[in-house]
């Protein structure tokens, strides 16, 4: 039987939420599995991560190394290749770090690689069946993976619900098996995102625009609507890529995490990277020309319409509403 390992991302001595999600993913793969957590880092922060993992994992492999104070994917890969047994199934979160680590790790382990999975079926022989998404979430696909020489599987954050676990795992120190490490890519520093003039994380209502806004000049109609509603304008990635709005307005895993009461997704298809930035279960109103846009699966209210016509109509309504309110008062 292939042993199952979970790569643990952590920061400031605390394991990422994915640590618990990977246990759930491992159990789907094999209900009787006892996955091994691998935590890599340095010093007391690593110790407290390992200690916290004992509650979910029966076994925690700790790898402390002077070169690993910062998780450089090239060095992490070298360490993993040294300690992992042949045929291992390695679960990695599909995050900014996972993207850096997983593809190359699969090559060095001579293992198959399945990226960004949302579901796993129980293992049957050497063949694993998984579900992933393509075309920005418009379609899902079943894929099979031959695990006879092992597999690296990156798991979409949030796709697996953590289940209660009552392990009292043991920590196994694997540091001595790793030895010295050297990288051809060297971490220099982290530059924290600038705040921007409008703080979209502080608004109860966001008028959020995506690719459907089509051109820079049309951003003004979203600004008008936001003003009429007392809201702020936020956006999805394509709008920032096109330089139509500042990075500080972007909602998503690479942008801001927001918690509005109501989120208007206008011309936003609803990729998982975008939805990852929406927390606190907001009421979502989505408008999109494409009736099959994934956003309609997660929205509360959906409207198939051209936002370039819908937005001005709603702005007009909001202005009338404001006038009526003023008259009543």
């Amino acid at each position: 039987m292939n042993r199952i390992f979970a790569y643990i991302e952590h920061k400031g001595g605390v394991a990422d939420d994915s640590a618990a999600e990977l246990i759930a993913a491992a159990r789907k793969l094999d209900p009787s599995a006892s996955p091994v957590a691998i935590a890599i880092g340095l010093g007391p922060e690593l110790d407290s991560v390992c200690e916290s993992l004992r509650a979910g994992y029966a076994e925690v492999w700790k790898i402390a190394n002077d070169a690993l104070a910062y998780p450089n994917a090239e060095l992490v890969r070298q360490a993993l290749v040294k300690v992992l047994p042949a045929g291992s199934i390695v679960l990695v979160p599909h995050t900014h770090f996972g993207l850096d680590l997983a593809p190359g790790l699969s090559i060095k382990l001579n293992a198959a690689y399945v990226p960004d999975i949302l579901a796993i079926e129980p293992l049957a022989g050497n063949s694993l069946r998984l579900v992933r998404q393509e075309f920005g979430g418009q379609l899902s696909a079943h894929v099979t993976c031959d695990i006879s020489t092992g597999a690296v599987i990156s798991v979409r954050p949030g796709a697996f619900k953590p289940e209660p676990s009552a392990a009292t795992g043991q920590i196994v120190d694997k540091s001595s098996e790793v030895g010295s490490l050297s990288a051809r890519r060297r971490y220099l520093e982290t530059v924290v995102a600038e705040a921007g003039e409008v703080d979209i994380t502080k608004h109860a209502l966001l008028v959020s625009i995506g690719r459907g806004i089509q051109e820079q000049d049309n951003v003004a109609i979203a600004e008008d609507l936001a003003q009429a509603l007392g809201a702020a304008v936020s956006c999805s990635r394509p709008v920032v890529d096109a330089k139509w709005l500042e990075k500080s307005r972007q909602v998503g895993s690479s942008g801001k995490t927001v918690k509005p009461k109501v989120y208007m997704a206008l011309g936003i298809s609803g990729s998982f990277q975008h939805l990852a930035g929406l927390k606190g279960n907001p009421f979502i109103i989505a408008v999109n020309k494409n009736a099959k846009a994934p956003i309609f699966q997660v929205a509360d209210i959906g409207i198939v319409d051209d936002i370039l016509e819908f937005i001005p109509a709603l702005t007009e309504k909001a202005r009338e509403g404001a006038k009526a309110g003023a008259a009543e008062a």
Binding site: N72, E74, T95, H96, L99, P103, G104, L105, S106, I107, K108, Y113, P115, D116, Q133, E134, F135, G136, Q138, L139, A141, H142, V143, T144, R184, R185, R186, Y187, L188, T190, V191, V192, L205, L229, A231, R237, V240, D241, K243, K247, S253, T257, P260, K261, V262, M264, F283, I285, P294, F296, Q297, V298, G302, I303, D305, A313, L314, K317, G321, A322
Partner: protein, 264 residues
């Protein structure tokens, strides 16, 4: 600096509704509009900007067949010096590792200081760049959104990480970088530009010219295979409002008030 950019032709999700075919085993490909994978286009633009600053040439390469030539020509019209087609019957059905193996064959026969890919493809999972780097034993960085050329065979690179933060590193050449959208503003390509490169010869290389082991690529070697496509059912689904726009707008405005989005 000589730069290789690996590109792909993909169904354009901004131009098409991607739909399931009647058999459920593929997308409906009739009348589909294809284009250069968006991430790859940013990678080509970045390569052109680097060579404009420090000299060198840009080569674009793809694994495919005659239909895929149009994306090579498009990127040549942007300014890439050469387009290269890696094509062979035995390549059909390759998984990501197979594609990376084919690309490695081309890199081994040539000399590049820097290799760029897009972060991912519309129907992919951000695999080939990292795999190619590992096969070549080059250093790798994903999600790169700024590149600065330093002296003595090094780059200073910025990676996009969570929360809009940036991770800055130094990386030795040769290396492979996967390029994130938004790193630059890709230049416009007009019909005139494409006509100018229409007759430029695009060399083709197959498995034997590339020294690629036929057993390591293609469908038989693929350890990961797609079985089918299906329509995902993730959430409960939205309540869809239909009818006249005026009435919908009215309802939406009421909902905004009810749900606390608008103070009224």
């Amino acid at each position: 600096m000589n730069i290789l950019v690996c590109v792909r032709r993909v169904p354009d999700t901004s131009e098409n509704e991607i739909q399931l075919n009647s058999a459920g085993n593929d997308i409906e490909r009739d009348d589909l509009v294809y284009s250069i994978n968006e991430w790859d286009n940013y990678a080509v633009e970045e390569a052109l900007q680097i060579t404009a600053r420090v000299g060198g040439e840009v080569t674009v390469v793809t694994v495919g067949d005659e239909e895929d030539e149009e994306v090579l020509r498009r990127e040549m019209a942007m300014g890439a010096k050469q387009g290269v087609m890696l094509t062979d019957e035995v390549f059909t059905g390759s998984d990501a590792k197979g594609i990376a193996t084919i690309l490695k064959g081309y890199v081994d026969k040539n000399k590049f200081d820097l290799i760029l890919t897009g972060v991912q493809a519309e129907d992919g999972g951000a695999q080939v760049g990292g795999m190619l780097a590992a096969l070549l034993d080059y250093p790798f960085a994903s999600l790169v959104n700024a590149i600065e050329v330093r002296d003595a065979g090094k780059l200073k690179i910025t990676r996009e990480i969570a929360g809009g933060n940036k991770e800055i590193s130094e990386i030795d050449l040769p290396c492979v970088l996967s390029i994130q959208t938004g790193i630059n503003e890709p230049r416009y390509v007009g019909m005139r530009g494409i006509r100018q490169v229409a007759s430029v010869e695009i060399p083709q290389f197959g498995a034997s010219e590339l020294g690629v082991d036929k057993g390591a690529v293609g469908e038989a070697a693929a350890r990961v295979r797609r079985l089918d496509y299906f329509i995902p059912a993730l959430g409960k689904g939205a309540e869809m409002l239909t009818g006249e726009r005026d009435q919908i707008v009215e309802r939406v405005f009421d909902l905004l008030k009810e749900r606390g989005g608008v103070q009224a």
